[in-house]
Symmetry: C2
Subunit: 453 residues, 2 copies
C-alpha cells in the first residue's frame, strides 16, 4: 500500500483509519510471540464502517485482517499478507440483555468478562471463560470458538452463539442464525462462521444464549503421586454422575515452578495436581465437591485440599494462573500447544513429554482442561528456539493423533499450526474447506494465509 | 431410470438394491403426509456400499436421497427427483461405548432409543429425545439436527455430535470432527453436515458425546387460566435459576381433544397446561420441581399436579402424547408446523392462531417446547386442504418472523418449508448456502430439490 492509497483511505474512512508506527506496532502481535505489523489499522464504529473498508479492499486489492483484543495464541489476527488490520475493540456495546428470553446481543468488541458481569447482575450466566477473559472480546471468542475451564460442563463458545451479523469480504452485511434457542432453517452458517478465525466474514454483532446463574461454586485440589493416578480420578469423576464445572490438571514440571506457592511438599518426581470445581445450589455444590474429593481419595490422592471459602478458592486458582505466567516468563522463547486427546489417553501423552523435550533440547510443561482431554503443552527454550520448537510440535502432534486426539482443542490454527493441519485433516476435507472459503471470499481478501494451507 | 439400468445396478450392488413396488412404496413417505415413491431403494451394509452407489449415480446421472426411519416432518427423505433412496436402517451397530471417554460411535441406522438405553446401562446419558425416539435413527437425527423436550436443558443433536463419517456425492468417504470433546481444527464441517438434511453428504457413522446419567427425574403439571399466564410462568422458571429438563405447553385447543384424560375440569375457553420436569440427584430433582410448582402457583396456576411416582409421570406424558396422536387422527388432512419465537412472545403467537384458523377455514392446535420458544402448530382440515394449509402456514410464518422468531425450531425445511425459506433468509444467505452446496455436490446428485429454493 503506497502513501497515496493510505492517504486516500484516510480521507474515505475518517479518523478511525491510522497508519502511524505506534498504531501499526500495537496491532503487530498477539500472544503467539510473533511480530508482524500491518500497513494500517482501522477502528470501525459500526458494521457500516467495516463494510466500507471491505469495499475499498476489493477495489484496491489489499488484505484485511480482523482483530479483537489480540489475545489469541495462533497468530490468527496478524496481517501476514500486509494490508489493514480492522480492530473491533471500539465496537463494545451490549445492545440487549433480555432476561425474559435469556439472551444478549453484543457488538464484537465487548470484553468477555463485561458480558459475564452484566449477565450475572441479572441473575444470568454466560459460561465460556477463556483464560484471557478480562481482556479478550466476544468477537474474537467467536472467531476462534474459544473454550476455557468451565467448558467441561457448559460447552464452548459455539454452543452459546445463536446468531450473528457479519460483513462479508465483498462488503455485504449478512445476518445468520436466530434470536431463539433453536433454529434449523438452512445450513448452519452461524456455526460455520464461529471458529473460522476471521477468514469467512468479519463478525460485528452476536446474539448469545444465557442460562440461569449457578448460586454457588466450590473448589478443591487433590495431589497425586503421578499423572496416571490423577487422570484415572478424572475419568472416574467424569463417569461418576457428577458434572464438574472445572477439572484442571497440572503436571510435575508445572508444579516445580510454583513450588513455594503450594500448601504441600512435592512428593516425588512424578507428582500431579488436580483442581476441580462444582457449582449449583449451595448444598448441591458442597455435595458434588465432596463426591469428587472422595473419588480422589479412593484413587490414591496423597492430599485433598478443599477451599473453605472464596479466598482459598482464589488461592487455588492463583496456583493455576501462576503456572501459566511463570512458564511464559521462565525463558526467552515460549510456544503454547493446545492438543486434546481422549481422557483415558492423557497419561500416555504426559508420559511422552519428557522424551520429546530431551530430543529437541527444550523444556516441556503440561497443564489444562483434563475433563475435556484438552492439555496445554507449553514449550520453552533459549532465544532462537522457534525451529526446534516447531519440530517438537510436529512430533507432539504426531503422538497426539496416534492417541486419537486433535492438534487444537481451543486455540485454533491461525499461522502457528497451519504447517501441521494436513497431518490431521485429509486432502478432501481441506479441499471442501477451500471450496467454502471460495464461496465466501473468492478474491481471497479476508485474513489470507490463515488456517488452510 | 430404465429397466436396463435398474438391472445393471442390481448386479453391481447386490441384493441390497431393490425396486419392486412394495420396497418403493415403503420408501415413498415420511410423517409429512406426502407420497413420492423412488425408482429404487438401496440398503447398504457399510460406507463402502454407499460410496459405490454414489459413484454409479455420478456415472448414470440419477438422484440419491438418504433415508433413516422416515419419521421426518418436512419430506426431507422423499425422492422428489426420482432415482434411488438409500435406506441406512440396516447399518445399525453401536460400534463403541466408551465409558472412560464418555462417547459412543454408532452407525447411522442405530435407533435413538437403542443408544439411549445402551448408554443408560453404562450410567451415561444421550439427551436428544425427538418424539419419534423409539423408531427414528441417529443418522436422521443428525441430518435434521433433531431436538426434543430435553433440549431445553441439554441442547440439540448438533451439541452431541463430535465427529462423523460421510460419503460425499462423488463417492469419496470423508471423516470430520474428532473423538475428543473439543476440537477447532479448520472449519466445522461436522456442524455443517449436521442439519444439512442429507444434501451435502450421506452420514454413515457418528461419534457422539455422552454425559453422566441423572439419577432421578420428577415431573409435574400446572393448569393456567390462559396461555399468557402459563408463558409468564415459563419465563419465570427459565430466569429463576432452575434448569428444567422439559417445559412443555399445551393450548386450549389441544386440551379440548383430550378432555376426558385430564385429571381436572377445563376452566374456560382459554386454559393452558404446562408439563415440566427436573432431573439430577433425587433431592435436587425434588427441590427443583418444588420450586417450579411454586413459580406456577405464584403465577396464578389454577391447579398444580405433581407426579408422585413413575406411573403418574407416565400419565402426564400420556396426555402430551395423546394430544399429538389425536390431532393427527382427528381429520383427513394434517400439517405440522414447527415455529420458534422468543419465549416472551409465545402468548402473542398463541393469541394469533384462532384468527389464522378462521381466515383459512382450518383448525389450529399449539403445543410444544415452551422453554425453547419452540411451538408445534398443528393444522388440520378436510381432505384437499393442502393449499389452504400452505396459505395458513405462510401467514403463520410471517407472524412468527414479525415476532422475532424462526419458521423451524427442529423439523427442518425439506420440501415442506422450502417455498417459505426466503421469507426468513436473505438472498445473500441463500447464495452462500448454494455456494456451499456446489462445493460439496457440484453435479447436484444428492437429495436434489430440498432445503434451498
Amino acid at each position: 500500500m503506497n502513501a497515496a492509497l493510505l492517504d486516500a483511505l484516510g480521507r474515505e474512512l475518517g479518523p478511525g483509519f491510522v497508519y502511524d508506527e505506534a498504531a501499526r506496532d500495537a496491532a503487530a502481535k498477539d500472544d503467539a510471540g510473533l511480530l508482524i505489523p500491518p500497513e494500517a489499522v482501522f477502528f470501525p464504529a459500526d458494521a457500516g464502517d467495516v463494510s466500507r473498508l471491505m469495499v475499498l479492499a476489493g477495489r484496491h486489492g489489499f488484505a484485511v485482517t480482523p482483530r479483537g483484543a489480540g489475545t489469541g495464541l495462533a497468530g490468527g489476527c496478524l496481517a501476514v499478507a500486509g494490508g489493514v488490520v480492522v480492530d473491533l475493540s471500539r465496537m463494545a456495546r451490549i445492545t440487549l440483555l433480555d432476561t425474559a428470553n435469556l439472551c444478549a446481543a453484543v457488538q464484537a468488541g465487548v470484553v468477555t468478562q463485561t458480558l459475564r458481569q452484566a449477565a450475572k447482575e441479572a441473575g444470568l450466566f454466560y459460561p465460556p471463560d477463556p483464560a484471557s477473559l478480562t481482556t479478550c472480546t466476544l468477537g474474537g471468542n467467536a472467531a476462534t470458538n474459544a473454550g476455557g475451564p468451565a467448558c467441561v460442563k457448559y460447552g464452548v463458545t459455539r454452543d452459546y452463539v445463536l446468531g450473528l451479523t457479519a460483513v462479508l469480504p465483498d462488503g455485504e452485511v449478512v445476518r445468520c442464525g436466530t434470536a431463539t434457542r433453536k433454529g434449523v432453517v438452512g445450513y448452519d452458517l452461524t456455526g460455520l462462521m464461529v471458529g473460522s478465525e476471521g477468514t469467512l466474514g468479519i463478525i460485528t454483532e452476536l446474539t448469545v444464549k444465557l442460562i440461569p446463574h449457578p448460586r454457588e461454586v466450590r473448589a478443591a485440589a487433590a495431589l497425586f503421586p503421578d499423572a496416571r493416578a490423577a487422570v484415572a480420578a478424572v475419568a472416574a469423576v467424569m463417569a461418576g454422575g457428577v458434572s464438574p464445572c472445572a477439572l484442571e490438571l497440572m503436571d510435575r514440571a508445572c508444579l516445580g515452578i510454583v513450588a513455594e506457592l503450594l500448601p504441600f511438599e512435592l512428593p516425588g518426581p512424578e507428582a500431579a495436581l488436580l483442581l476441580f470445581e462444582a457449582d449449583g445450589d449451595p448444598d448441591q455444590a458442597a455435595r458434588d465437591i465432596g463426591r469428587m474429593e472422595a473419588v480422589c481419595r479412593d484413587g490414591g490422592a496423597l492430599a485433598v485440599l478443599p477451599a473453605q471459602n472464596a479466598q482459598e478458592r482464589e488461592e487455588l486458582w492463583g496456583i493455576r494462573r501462576q503456572i501459566s505466567t511463570r512458564i511464559h516468563e521462565s525463558a526467552p522463547f515460549y510456544l503454547s500447544e493446545d492438543v486434546a486427546v481422549p481422557i483415558a489417553r492423557i497419561p500416555d501423552l504426559i508420559d511422552a513429554l519428557p522424551a520429546l523435550g530431551q530430543r529437541h533440547g527444550l523444556r516441556v510443561y503440561a497443564f489444562g482442561h483434563a475433563g475435556d482431554g484438552n492439555i496445554h503443552v507449553n514449550i520453552t527454550g533459549e532465544a532462537g528456539s522457534r525451529d526446534r520448537a516447531m519440530a517438537l510440535a510436529r512430533d507432539l502432534i504426531a503422538e497426539v493423533l496416534a492417541l486419537g486426539g486433535t492438534m487444537s482443542g481451543e486455540h485454533g490454527i491461525g499461522i502457528a499450526k497451519r504447517p501441521f493441519i494436513d497431518m490431521e485433516l485429509s486432502q478432501r476435507s481441506l479441499s471442501l474447506q477451500r471450496g467454502i472459503k471460495a464461496a465466501f471470499d473468492p478474491a481471497g481478501l479476508l485474513n489470507p494465509g490463515k488456517v488452510l494451507p
